[in-house]
């Protein structure tokens, strides 16, 4: 005997089946959305990783090239450069060794694909670009550093502090006076020599220079104003085997709110959805 089909029972069963199906579908959707959210959270860290690797390589490359740079570009443009010339080691060899270590060992240990191209640094001159307005060239082959503008920036003041480990023989100082402040403190570690101090002015469109001659054809020359790279420039040129430590603060006109400072080497990176092909960043 076939039992009667209860209409209420049928409706109730159908409702339960729909409810169960809905529960299954929603839980699967919830899981899928959560996976996508987690994936986007984790992949967002790739941008930070790329920036951190660039920062680390740039920081260490600066150590090899051997200078400290600080740039403040809000209002006027202030450049502070500290350096030792000569470096005491072969800069070109060490740049190549560092690049080789990165490409063959370090990049294999970090996530993503990375490649450093330091061709811009291995031609004998390491360039640092301050936006598109200023260039700092470290000619490590000839022990010469030059700071010069690419545009219309003019020097408003220059402050030079020099420390040399040696006994100076004679010095020659010639200046074309002008309206730009110039301060020089030159200290020779030979206690018998009086430090050279100058507080005055110079003309940033003409040549002014301070040269110290040491025994054995060793000398160091500082040029203010007009150099081989043009006006409103600064240059230090060391010849021989003396160690020169100096810090120069130059105040240029026409700063900007944002002037990135970059080292002339290219870092190519790819990590997850992020990829970059940028110069080494000293300051953002």
């Amino acid at each position: 005997m076939i039992p009667k089909i209860s209409k209420k029972g049928f409706l109730f069963t159908l409702t339960v089946i729909i409810f169960a199906t809905t529960l299954i579908v929603y839980s699967q959707i919830f899981l899928s959305v959560s996976y996508d959210n987690e994936k986007s959270i984790i992949s967002s860290s790739a941008v930070g990783t790329i920036a951190n690797i660039n920062d680390s390589i740039s920081f260490n490359m600066q150590k090899i090239i051997g200078f400290d740079i600080d740039v403040n570009s809000s209002g006027d443009l202030n450049i502070m450069l500290s350096e030792r010339i000569p470096k005491g080691y072969n800069v070109l060899t060490e740049i190549n060794n560092f690049e080789s270590m990165l490409n063959s060992k370090y990049f294999a240990r970090v996530a993503g694909e990375h490649e450093l191209d330091s061709l811009g640094l291995t031609d004998g001159v390491a360039e640092v670009f301050v936006g598109q307005v200023l260039t700092i060239e470290s000619d490590y082959t000839n022990n010469k550093t030059t700071i010069y503008p690419s545009g219309s920036n003019t020097i408003r003041s220059l402050d030079l502090n020099v420390y040399v480990d040696g006994a100076n023989d004679i010095n020659l100082f010639s200046t074309n006076t002008g309206s730009t402040n110039l301060t020089i403190n030159y200290l020779d570690t030979n206690a018998q020599k009086v430090p050279f101090v100058y507080v005055g002015t110079f003309d940033p469109t003409a040549i002014s220079s301070l040269t110290y001659y040491y025994p054995g054809d060793n000398n160091v020359e500082f040029v203010f104003g007009l150099t081989a790279k043009g006006i409103n420039s600064f240059e230090v040129d060391v010849n021989g085997s003396i160690d020169v430590y100096y810090t120069v603060n130059i105040n240029y006109s026409n700063g900007a709110d944002y002037l990135p400072v970059r080292l002339n080497a290219i870092l190519r990176q790819q990590l997850g959805y992020a990829d970059a092909n940028t110069m080494l960043k000293i300051l953002n």
Partner: protein, 147 residues
């Protein structure tokens, strides 16, 4: 067969079906991970600690010039920086020779930390040490975990 027998079988099947559906839904929900940001926080803290040690010069101070070579020196500057990190995190610093990155030359763990954690973050950075006329490259690895 009595009505009671059919009723019991029917309800048993229904209960089994509902239980299976609920279990399946709970299984899906249990697979949802809500701690991705915690992983990011750990990685960020580890990365920040390593950057501070590098930029403060603590890593450089772990080495010194000895004759014509650079050798390891005091771990105190690094320990100072590690002790200044959050008490919620532990760190282990290992420095490898850049010429042979399987060879550790320096190792230190943050005091009062032991390596017991299911989650671990690892950050590596290159390191160039310049001491006078000497220069040498290393790879630095900082591992971090929660206490």
């Amino acid at each position: 067969m009595n009505k009671g027998f059919f009723f019991t079988v029917d309800s048993f099947l229904a209960l089994t079906f509902v239980t299976a559906v609920v279990l399946f839904a709970l299984f899906n929900i249990s697979n949802v991970q809500a701690d991705s940001w915690n992983s990011i926080d750990l990685r960020t803290a580890t990365n920040d600690a390593l950057i501070v040690m590098e930029k403060s010069g603590a890593l450089d101070d772990a080495f010194q010039e000895s004759g014509s070579t650079i050798v390891t020196a005091s771990a105190l500057p690094i320990l100072d920086d590690l002790n200044n990190t959050s008490q919620a995190y532990c760190f282990e610093l290992v420095i490898f020779d850049g010429g042979d990155v399987s060879e550790p030359v320096f190792h230190v763990i943050k005091p009062e930390c032991s390596k017991e954690s299911t989650e671990f973050a690892s950050i590596e950075r290159p390191l160039v040490v310049v001491k006078g006329d000497l220069i040498k490259t290393y790879v630095v690895r900082l591992g971090g975990w929660r206490k």
